[in-house]
């Protein structure tokens, strides 16, 4: 990674694979993914259903191990379930889920919910614990009175703030956020996004921000990556990603977003039709996963999986067409 060489990498993923056995056959959820996240960076991972983005996030936090490839956290191999990870590692990597309602135990008070990670990761108890709990709830901008409430008593946005507080409590350096705002209304999404940005700047955190919402990613993350059927199609600095999308899938996705104003329409690639449906991941097409829908499909695409190529500094595309172009220019 030429441009980012100056910054330290906090997370490096190479050739990552994950398969699940189902009744109908083997489901290849992640089919060989490479990317890296820098310290204090917000990295957006975008994709539709079946893209494998959530599976990547799950492996990073340790829900399960991979079936191939490597995950390095500050140089340390972390590719194994959380149960087998060190305490320190568990503390460093935290997770915020999509559904705030389901992530909080309805039979526990907010205080109990926030106390758990503090007890487990920082070994606090007694007065120190109480103080830390209060500090946490204030850090996310909620009043102390909330500590005695049950999750049902507070709104969706506030529940999500508690989830964020819970992730921050152990004092981590890396947080995986899987669709953290998708279940919330627009006006509340903005508040949560703001809070996330604020905390990231304040504490120098690194985020892996997983979502299907391209507009959100456009405004929130430093670098963007897009996945389709388990493969990483393209990644670049956000501005570059959105102004010069190269991968045909990226273009199709951007062209499909319903936007609110003429001004935004201007930012969409024109003359790109949305065709077809996402194939069932159990029956992945050979070669490039996108070839069945790609308007620029060549013969090679049907049999040979493409390789990630740096097309311009910091801008990587996994596509035979662009690999050819880059090779010619080299």
């Amino acid at each position: 990674m030429s441009e980012a060489a100056a910054r330290e990498k906090i997370l490096e993923v190479s050739r990552l694979r994950k398969e699940f056995q189902t009744r109908q056959g083997t489901l290849v959820a992640v089919a060989g993914v490479d990317f890296a996240i820098n310290e204090s960076e917000i990295y957006g991972l975008v994709g539709e259903s079946g893209s494998g983005k959530s599976t990547v996030g799950s492996m990073i936090v340790g829900m399960y191990g991979s079936n191939g490839g490597e995950i390095l956290f500050r140089g340390e191999d972390i590719d194994r379930p959380a149960a087998k990870r060190s305490k320190e590692l568990k503390r460093q990597i935290q997770l915020v889920f999509q559904d705030p309602g389901g992530s909080l135990n309805p039979r526990q008070t907010i205080r109990q919910i926030l106390a758990l990670p503090l007890k487990l990761h920082r070994g606090l108890s007694g007065a120190a614990l109480e103080e830390a709990v209060q500090e946490t709830v204030e850090k996310v901008g909620l009043p102390r009175s909330y500590l005695d409430k049950y999750p049902q008593a507070i709104g969706g946005g506030e529940k999500q703030l508690i989830c964020i507080g819970r992730a921050l409590a152990p004092d981590p350096s890396f947080i995986v956020l899987d669709e953290p705002t998708s279940a919330l209304d627009v006006s509340i999404q903005a508040k949560i996004s703001n809070k996330l940005l604020e905390l990231q700047e304040q504490l120098g955190l690194s985020y892996l921000f997983i979502t299907h919402n391209l507009c959100l990613v456009r405004n929130l993350v430093h670098r963007t990556a897009i996945m389709y059927l388990g493969q990483l199609c393209e990644t670049a600095v956000t501005e570059e990603f959105f102004t010069h999308p190269l991968h045909p899938y990226t273009q199709m996705l951007l062209a499909s977003i319903p936007v609110m104003s003429e001004r935004e329409e201007a930012y969409k690639p024109t003359e790109v039709e949305s065709v077809g449906e996402i194939p069932n991941p159990i029956h992945r097409p050979d070669g490039c996963g996108f070839h069945t829908r790609c308007p620029l499909c060549m013969d090679r695409c049907k049999t040979e999986p493409p390789v990630m190529t740096e097309v311009s500094p910091g801008h990587y595309v996994s596509c035979h067409l662009h690999a050819n172009i880059a090779a010619k220019e080299a």
């Binding site: 149960a83 992530s103 039979r107 487990l120």
Partner: protein
């Protein structure tokens, strides 16, 4: 509509108030509750309320035998001259005590096994416990209870043990399925990822969310347990004479039909009332908790 709209004040209190309101809005559930409370009062104060408490033990008075319902004997007297109503009250006490004892033994064992099996789902622990449970479930409860009693001596205590032995598997099954579905909840996964110990996860994260269905089942079970206990007394392997037991009162009284009908009929009706009360209460509880889960 956000749930925020309707929750104010002290949270736990509010929740209980709302549950009560939901429960009380169903007349049948209220009826069940009232009946059960009444029965408990009758059982606890049987000694004070029964007009002839001594009739609950050894008593003979052939002068007053086989008398129909009257002002002195509300439910009549039996072949030994004992007041049936008083015996019914003490029989009630015995029935409730058996029910409580069975639940006190069977539920903790069943739930504990279910928690362990469910949490260690798909391991040898799961298989071992659940197959062991299946063994016990293969035998009808009454038969199993009778077998246990026959191994020892008939009487109150072993009757309770016998029924408990037959009863715990159902709680294991219930708890197992509850734990299995709750294990998929995000907050449980979070606790696991954070490295919480199994004990914490089972007791603090899973169990509090599983309590409601277990509680409901306990209430619904009371009726069934009392019937089984009565059946055991009916065949003579439950509570032994002269201690009063609703089941044996019915079985002994059958031969006096139809002239001295009151001897079996009142105790039998009483059993019906008890079972009905607990069933209505249990149904009401189930409705309340079901809605709350939503």
């Amino acid at each position: 509509m956000s749930d925020k709209q309707t929750e104010q004040g002290r949270p736990r209190l509010e929740r209980y108030k709302r549950q009560w309101h939901k429960f009380a809005s169903n007349r049948l559930s209220l009826l069940g509750l009232v009946v059960v409370l009444l029965l408990i009062v009758l059982a606890v104060f049987a000694g004070k309320i029964a007009p002839y408490p001594e009739h609950a033990g050894l008593y003979l008075d052939f002068q007053s035998a086989n008398q129909g319902p009257s002002l002195q004997h509300i439910a009549g007297t039996d072949e030994y001259g004992r007041d049936i109503f008083s015996r019914m009250l003490f029989g009630l006490r015995v029935s409730l005590e058996i029910g409580l004892l069975v639940l006190a033994i069977g539920v903790p064992i069943g739930v504990l096994l279910g928690l362990i099996a469910g949490y260690h789902r798909n391991t040898w622990i799961d298989t071992a416990i659940m197959r062991f449970t299946d063994l016990f479930m293969a035998v009808p409860p009454l038969v199993l209870a009778l077998v246990v009693v026959a191994m020892f001596t008939p009487g109150f205590f072993f009757a309770a043990i016998g029924i408990a032995v037959a009863w715990w598997p159902w709680y294991t099954r219930l708890t197992y399925s509850l734990v299995t579905s709750l294990s998929n909840e995000m907050y449980v996964k979070y606790a696991e990822l954070s490295g919480a110990k199994s004990r914490h996860i089972i007791l603090k994260e899973i169990l509090p969310n599983a309590i409601s269905p277990i509680f409901t089942k306990m209430s619904l079970d009371m009726g069934m347990i009392i019937i089984i206990a009565s059946s055991m007394s009916f065949v003579g392997l439950g509570v032994q004479p002269p201690a009063p037991s609703l089941g044996s009162m019915v079985s002994n009284g059958i031969k006096f039909l139809p002239e001295f009908w009151w001897i079996p009929v009142f105790p039998a009706l009483f059993v019906v009332l008890i079972v009905l009360g607990f069933n209505l209460l249990g149904d009401g509880l189930r409705d309340v908790f079901a809605i709350e889960e939503l």
